[in-house]
């Protein structure tokens, strides 16, 4: 039986991990490759590197980080952030990433998803969706540019559209829950994962082990992503997996 996946996310700026990381046993807490290797050893199922560099040089540095990560990791990893065209994707995939994640660029030119899927295969194209609930419309809307700009797209419509165009996976982030540590947005995750027939990664809001149990038992999410709770060791990967197993969630 296929297992549920636990995915730590590393924010990388100009080749360095940002969001203070408190690993005492790391020689260099800012080295994304060293941190990634530690997560691999701890039993993470997959990793996401989110490049938040604003500059061209920062992006080039990211390709080097990907190359080094591919040299040491024995688990798959996705790279997202600032990927705008097929050439960017090619560079990242050739450097050894297993998947690329696109967000704003996909909304600006939805045919990019199709072109990417036909060139590289659906299995390596992740469409990342930033979702915020609109209480007056009673629905979630898609935001771009790191959550700064609202689009006309309702989340479910865009998710379906992305899948129809060839996305192999949806990385679904709840902006309402992100950073609050009081749990994944179960309603949002359920809505999308019930509908689309590709794996959905739940993201935003993880604070405790129980939040992972809930998202895996109450929605059809196949993976759950978190950043700071892993980096700050509020939740350990081994502990989390033991808890999930005990609650009947199938994990590696």
């Amino acid at each position: 039986m296929i297992t549920k996946r636990i995915i730590p996310c590393l924010d990388v700026k100009d080749g360095r991990v940002v969001k203070g990381v408190s690993f005492v046993d790391l020689r260099d807490a800012g080295d994304p490759v060293e941190l990634a290797a530690l997560y691999d050893e701890a039993g993470a199922d997959e990793l996401v590197f989110l490049d938040i560099s604003a500059s061209h040089e920062g992006r080039k540095t990211m390709v080097e980080v990907v190359r080094q990560a591919a040299g040491v990791l024995s688990i798959p990893f996705t790279v997202g952030g600032g990927i705008g065209d097929l050439e960017d994707m090619f560079q990242i995939l050739r450097a050894g990433a297993d998947k690329v994640s696109i967000n704003t660029a996909a909304l600006q030119q939805p045919e990019l998803v199709e072109n990417a899927a036909s060139r590289f295969g659906s299995q390596c194209i992740v469409v990342a969706i930033d979702a915020l609930y609109d209480p007056s419309e009673k629905d979630w809307y898609v935001y771009t540019h790191g959550g700064r700009r609202r689009t006309e797209w309702k989340v479910l419509d865009w998710a379906q559209q992305a899948v129809d165009r060839g996305a192999g996976e949806i990385l679904l982030t709840s902006m309402d829950q992100d950073g609050r540590k009081n749990g994944y947005d179960l309603a949002l995750t359920r809505t999308v994962s019930d509908r689309v027939r590709v794996p959905v990664i739940a993201s935003g809001g993880a604070g405790t082990k129980d939040h992972f149990v809930k998202v895996f038992t109450q929605t059809r999410a196949e993976a759950a992503l978190a950043a700071s709770i892993f980096h700050y060791r509020e939740v350990g990967i081994e502990d989390l997996k033991a808890e999930l197993k005990q609650k009947g969630v199938h994990v590696r």
Binding site: T3, R67, A70, L73, S74, D98, Q123, E169, E222, R252
Partner: protein
Amino acid sequence: MIAIIDYGMGNLYSVSQALTRMGYEWKITSDSEIIRSADGVILPGVGAFGDAMLELKKRGLIEVIKEIVHREGKPLLGICLGMQLLFTGSDEHGYHQGLNLIPGHVVRFEGDYNIPHMGWNELRFDRPHPLFQGVEEGYAYFVHSFHVIPDNPSDILAVTDYHQTVTAIVGRNQLFGMQFHPEKSGETGRKLLERFAALCTDRGNRR
């Protein structure tokens, strides 16, 4: 030396680095002479079946692969799409002929469930095999929308379950295929890749 066939498809770097970590020499190449002189060959692959056959053909590699397998019995491992290419043909975007080294067909997953089959799934070894020496059944990382149905069940070495029994490892003489990515499959994947590499060099040493 293990030749990793470069035909413009797939993630060659990760598998090469995995071999380096195990202490095996490798060459990423599309040169038929280097491929012929290797102790063993890895045929990687990500992308579409028809494109992959076309790229192999363009580089004159189809005959080379058939020759080293049939005539020389050189160990060869197809990974992911590389395993699917070993079979007779595939239904991916119309019918395409494969290398036909193992009889069988590649078909799409069909059903009301998530496609691709993506993530960590449990390997079940069907029979004892030198490839499994010192390796325990464990989890491997799969990502594919098409799967292989060999004509002869005896070519299946290991399976996994995804809404049906899915062929995970095939083997016929010195020819092997893994549907998952051993280079991305943690400890279990590392050991399987290492066993393949060992089978290659054992043969190399005997020469």
